[in-house]
Every structure is written in structure tokens, then in C-alpha cells.
């Protein structure tokens, strides 16, 4: 007989009973993304203590300075410190994304639950309206809404939230449709649960997985949409700065001073990438059991 040793499962394999958190921590890409995002969030929270300069203070003697010891990432066309502005802008950008996703959730989640659970003509009406909304390009629709409501960051994010609500609704409806047919829903009814109680206690926890994944990915997209709208001047209004607005103001001076443009762009890209990778990580970890070969 050959002396083949039975291959042991690699030491890193987790038991099938591992929790979501354990599995997520093993996902290196998602963990690194989460750490980077945590740093960005902390920077936003403690911005006044971290930023080396006042983000709004302009200096005529320091216009479009290259990066150096005083201005880490150079200064902009009005002589403001780009690094400080980026740090403070993270507040605006992150809050704006949260606002957009929150609005999308507030609208999309109940509609999705109702459409999926009740079904019938109510589902048909909600879903067709949904399809109609989704057939518009998101950013264009947001531009139209901002055009009607007037340019401001809050209006822009409300618009983005409205535009993204159908995506949440669609995911929730789909999951609800499958959960609704589960025996434990029938069992809950046989135990004397009313419809509202069933939706809140039995359906909602079971659609959370896909919902959290979708919301995380939408965070990244909302950030991007915010950047786009602010770049076009429809989002954050001066003197406030968001990453997109900074990109917009730095862009015309790219010939003289490329660093502010690049820095804003990199920060936006990295944050969006982090959201997407975290979303993927959550998606891979939510199942009760790791799929074989994972």
C-alpha cells in the first residue's frame, strides 16, 4: 500500500456551526476593506482633531501649492489645505450616503415586504411602478429631481434615495416571496400569529441577509452618485466640501496642480471599493454553512 496520508482539512477551515462574524473575519479582502472603512469613518468623526488646518480658511499666499510638509496634499485654488478639506469632506460624503440609503430603505423595505407577502394586485401595482422607476438611468433621474427641488446636498441625496428605493424593494420582495412559502410561516400562523406579527418577527429576520448586502453595495453607489452630482454642482454647495465637490473644484486646475484632483478621486474610489468588497464579504458569510470548497 502506498503511504498516502489522508489529507487533513486545512487548519483554517471553520466548523459548519461557525458564526457569521467568524466567517467574515476569515475573509481577508472584506476584513481589510472593513478596516480601511473604519479608519475613514474614524477620521470623519474626529476630523477637528486630525485635520492639520482649518478646512475653510483660505490663504492668498498659498494658492495651488504642491504637497509638502505644511500642506500634505497641496492647497487648492483658494489656498485651502486639501488634506484637511478631504478629511472634513468625508463627513459630508458619508452622511450623504447614509441618508440616501436610509431613504431607500424606508421606502423600499416596507413596500418590498408588502408586495412579497400580500401578493396579488397589490404586488402587481407596486412591482410595475418599480419596474418603471428602474428603467430610468439612476443619475439622470436624480438630476431631474434635483432640478425640480433645487440644488443642495440634502435634496440630491433624497433624490438618490428615491431612485435606489426600487432596488431595495426588489431584493426584499424576492426574498419575502420565498420566505412566505416556508413551513415556519404557516406554523407561525397556526400558533396564532397575525400578519403584521408574522412580517415583523418571522419574515424580516429572514430577508435581512440579502438586504444588508444590497444596502452595503448601495452605500458605495450612493457615494459615487453623490460625487457625480456634486461634481456637476448639484450636490454640496460651497463653502461646504464633499469629495465629489472637491473633485469638481480641483479638476479645472489639474494642469497646474494634479494632486488634489487625484487625491479626491482616489479617496472616492477606495471608499466605494471598500463598500463593494464588504458587501461581497457579507454575501459570502451570511449562509448558515460555508459552501464546500469555499
Amino acid at each position: 500500500m502506498s503511504t498516502t496520508t489522508i489529507e487533513q482539512a486545512p487548519a483554517v477551515a471553520l466548523p459548519p456551526t461557525s458564526t457569521f462574524f467568524q466567517r467574515f473575519c476569515r475573509n481577508r479582502t472584506a476584513m481589510v476593506s472593513a478596516i480601511i472603512l473604519a479608519i475613514i469613518v474614524l477620521a470623519a468623526i474626529f476630523a477637528p482633531y486630525i485635520a492639520p488646518h482649518d478646512p475653510a480658511k483660505s490663504s492668498l499666499r498659498a494658492i495651488l501649492k504642491p504637497p509638502g510638509a505644511v500642506y500634505w496634499l497641496g492647497s487648492d485654488d483658494l489656498g485651502r489645505d486639501v488634506a484637511s478639506r478631504l478629511i472634513f469632506a468625508s463627513r459630508l460624503s458619508l452622511v450623504a450616503s447614509v441618508q440616501a440609503v436610509a431613504i431607500a430603505l424606508v421606502i423600499g423595505l416596507p413596500l418590498g415586504l408588502i408586495a412579497g407577502y400580500v401578493g396579488g394586485w397589490i404586488d402587481t401595482i407596486i412591482s410595475r411602478f418599480n419596474d418603471a422607476l428602474m428603467s430610468f438611468p439612476a443619475l439622470i433621474l436624480a438630476v431631474v429631481i434635483v432640478g425640480l427641488m433645487g440644488p443642495s446636498l440634502s435634496n440630491a441625496m433624497t433624490a438618490i434615495g428615491l431612485v435606489y428605493a426600487p432596488r431595495i424593494m426588489r431584493v426584499v420582495r424576492g426574498s419575502t416571496l420565498s420566505v412566505r412559502e416556508e413551513v415556519y410561516i404557516r406554523a407561525a400562523r397556526a400558533m396564532g400569529c397575525g400578519d403584521i406579527r408574522i412580517i415583523a418577527l418571522h419574515v424580516l429576520p429572514n430577508v435581512m441577509g440579502p438586504l444588508v448586502v444590497q444596502a452595503t453595495v448601495l452605500m458605495g453607489q450612493a457615494l459615487l452618485a453623490e460625487a457625480g452630482l456634486s461634481f456637476l454642482g448639484l450636490g454640496a454647495q460651497p463653502p461646504l466640501a464633499s469629495w465629489g465637490a472637491m473633485l469638481g473644484t480641483a479638476f479645472p486646475y489639474m494642469q497646474q496642480s494634479p494632486v488634489p484632483t487625484i487625491a479626491s478621486g482616489v479617496v472616492i474610489s477606495v471608499t466605494v471599493l471598500c463598500f463593494n468588497l464588504i458587501g461581497d464579504g457579507i454575501r459570502d458569510s451570511v449562509g448558515r454553512m460555508r459552501r464546500a470548497g469555499d
Binding site: 413551513v183 404557516r186 400558533m191 418577527l201
Partner: protein, 334 residues
């Protein structure tokens, strides 16, 4: 005393591409207090739908109770508002489903799920409900119940999950436990233990049990009285001993002869009933069992409607019941 549950001419219809299908056709029977009644029949005989309709659970599947009445403990359940039904379901009537693997919510621990039923109906504190949940898990013989209450359903085996379901169903001391094939999806050895458990709990608490099954072995083990259903109708009703000793309907005989235990006693192989249950949109004229019946007589059996007739033995829906009396008994006698 009044029976605890009394179905009278209960009729349930489902819409389909063939028009309205009558899947439960004027079904009547009673369940007395402290009594175990088994409803027996093949898949498609309407036995599960009958039970679900009795407690108002068919509407969500598109079905409608179109006639008859269901009296439970002095109250009429047909037409009762869901709000009121919800106070009875899970509290006065416990329900166990066929699929133990999927009838528990994967998002909660089993303790939470039992406690939630108790809280819903008893309005007790969280701590008390949890105590009750652990106590119920002990009552269904789950070892180290206090620790297992913190586990999720996927950490339990099929038989254990069915025990949890039973614990949940009886957590509020129901007067009636409806068990819809609770042992069908389980291993034979586990099946026997689940049956024992149900019987034990029934004896201890004095609740009534309405047991739906297609397994006559199960019936012999726990039933006091048996209702045989075929083609959406009741075809025979009798005490359990009478049913096994002197079946009156050819369908019942067929079911008995298909049982390995009965066949072995006679030194024969089990005999399958030929054919399958007709679809609800295509019941044959006359007796609904006639195309599969070896005792069919063209004419009386294939025209008109056969009525359910009461005799000394119970109820039987067979026009030739008296003529076949001895032949049917012989067919299953050892």
C-alpha cells in the same frame, strides 16, 4: 357532554384552471374530549386540507370554506375573524406539521420560538416565558433542555426538531392538538418515539388529539376512533378495534391489506390498491372509489351518489356494505 371539536358538512373549494375544485366535500365528524381521532387517507384525499380549513388556515393558499360549520368548545370557527382565531390557534388548539426540518424559523433559537408563543398567548414576562420554554423542552424529553434552548434549529436533528415543534404546540396547554402527519418525514425508530411522546402527553394532560396520517400502523398504535377519507369525502368511521377487525368499506380493506404487518400475519405479501386517487376535477360518477374497487358492481356503484350510512359498526359510504360484510372481514382476517 358536547364533543370538543365538531365538523359538520365542512366543504372547502379551491379555484383552479378546471374551475372551482371541491377538495373537502361535506365532511362531518367529531372529536370528543380526551379522545384520539385519526384521519386516514391517501395523499390527495383531502385530509390535511380538512384540518387546515377547520382552524382557518386555507385562505392563504387560495382556498375557501364554502359551507358547513366547525364548532370548537362551543364556538363557531367558520367565519370567525382572524383576530379571534389567532387567540384560539396556538392557545386552545396546537398544530404540528409534517415537515420538522422546515417548520422552525432558522432566525431564532428554539427557546425563543417557544417563549414567543407563550408570551403571545399568556402575556407573561420574558423570563417566565423562557422558563416555560425550558420546561416544555424537558417535557418532550430533550436532554440538557436549559442549554439546548439556546441552540438554533439547524443544530437539531429531524426527530429533535419535531420534539421542539410538539413542545411549541403544547406550550399553552391546548385542549386540542392537531398533528398533520408528524412522524411521516422521520426514521421509523424516531417515528415510534414521537408517537409514544404524543400519546404520553395526551394521557398526562387529557387533551384531545386529532391525528392525520396515511399510516395505519400509526393508527393502530394511538387512535381511539378512525375516520377514513377518500376523494374529499368521509368513507368510513369506526372505533379503532372495529375498523381493524371488521372493515366495512373496500377502501379501508385495501389500506389494511397494503399494510406489511397485516399481510405478514396472513402469510401474504402486502397488496397495493390498484390505480391512484382521481383528481378533484374528475371524480367518477357514483362511488368515488369505484374505478379502483375489486367489488364494484356496474350500475349501483357507478351511478348516482353514495350516502354515508350509520350502522352498528359506525359510518360507511358503500352501497354494497352489507353484501360485502363477510368478504371484507375475511380479506384482512389472519
Amino acid at each position: 357532554m358536547d364533543p370538543l371539536l365538531s365538523l359538520k358538512d365542512l366543504t372547502v373549494q379551491f379555484p383552479s384552471t378546471h374551475g372551482l375544485l371541491t377538495v373537502v366535500d361535506k365532511v362531518s365528524f367529531d372529536v370528543g374530549r380526551n379522545e384520539v381521532v385519526c384521519v386516514v387517507g391517501e395523499s390527495g384525499s383531502g385530509k390535511s386540507v380538512t384540518m387546515q380549513a377547520a382552524v382557518g388556515l386555507v385562505q392563504t393558499k387560495g382556498g375557501r370554506v364554502t359551507g358547513g360549520s366547525v364548532r370548537f368548545d362551543g364556538q363557531e370557527l367558520v367565519g370567525m375573524k382572524n383576530r379571534h382565531l389567532n387567540r384560539i390557534r396556538g392557545n386552545d388548539i396546537g398544530f404540528i406539521f409534517q415537515e420538522p426540518m422546515s417548520s422552525l424559523n432558522p432566525a431564532y433559537t428554539v427557546g425563543e420560538q417557544i417563549a414567543e408563543v407563550v408570551r403571545r398567548h399568556r402575556g407573561v414576562s420574558r423570563a417566565e416565558a423562557w422558563k416555560r420554554a425550558v420546561e416544555m423542552l424537558e417535557r418532550v424529553h430533550i436532554a440538557t433542555a436549559a442549554a439546548r434552548a439556546h441552540d438554533y434549529p439547524h443544530q437539531f436533528s429531524g426527530g429533535m426538531r419535531q420534539r421542539v415543534m410538539i413542545a411549541m404546540a403544547i406550550a399553552c396547554d391546548p385542549k386540542l392538538l392537531i398533528a398533520d402527519e408528524p412522524s411521516t418525514a422521520l426514521d421509523v425508530t424516531i417515528q415510534a418515539r414521537i408517537l409514544q411522546l404524543i400519546k404520553e402527553l395526551q394521557t398526562a394532560s387529557g387533551m384531545s388529539v386529532l391525528f392525520i396520517t396515511h399510516d395505519l400502523g400509526v393508527v393502530a398504535e394511538i387512535a381511539d376512533r378512525v375516520v377514513v377519507m377518500y376523494g374529499a369525502q368521509v368513507v368510513e368511521e369506526a372505533g379503532v378495534d372495529a375498523l381493524f377487525a371488521t372493515p366495512r368499506h373496500p377502501y379501508t380493506t385495501g389500506l389494511l391489506r397494503a399494510m406489511p404487518q397485516v399481510a405478514l400475519e396472513r402469510g401474504e405479501d402486502p397488496v397495493a390498491i390498484p390505480g391512484t386517487v382521481a383528481q378533484a376535477h374528475a371524480w367518477p360518477a357514483g362511488c368515488r372509489f369505484n374505478p379502483r374497487c375489486e367489488f364494484r358492481e356496474d350500475g349501483p356503484c357507478t351511478t348516482g351518489q353514495v350516502q354515508l350510512v350509520r350502522d352498528d359498526h359506525g359510518l360507511v359510504r358503500c352501497i354494497r356494505a352489507d353484501a360485502l360484510r363477510t368478504r371484507l372481514t375475511q380479506a384482512v382476517a389472519a
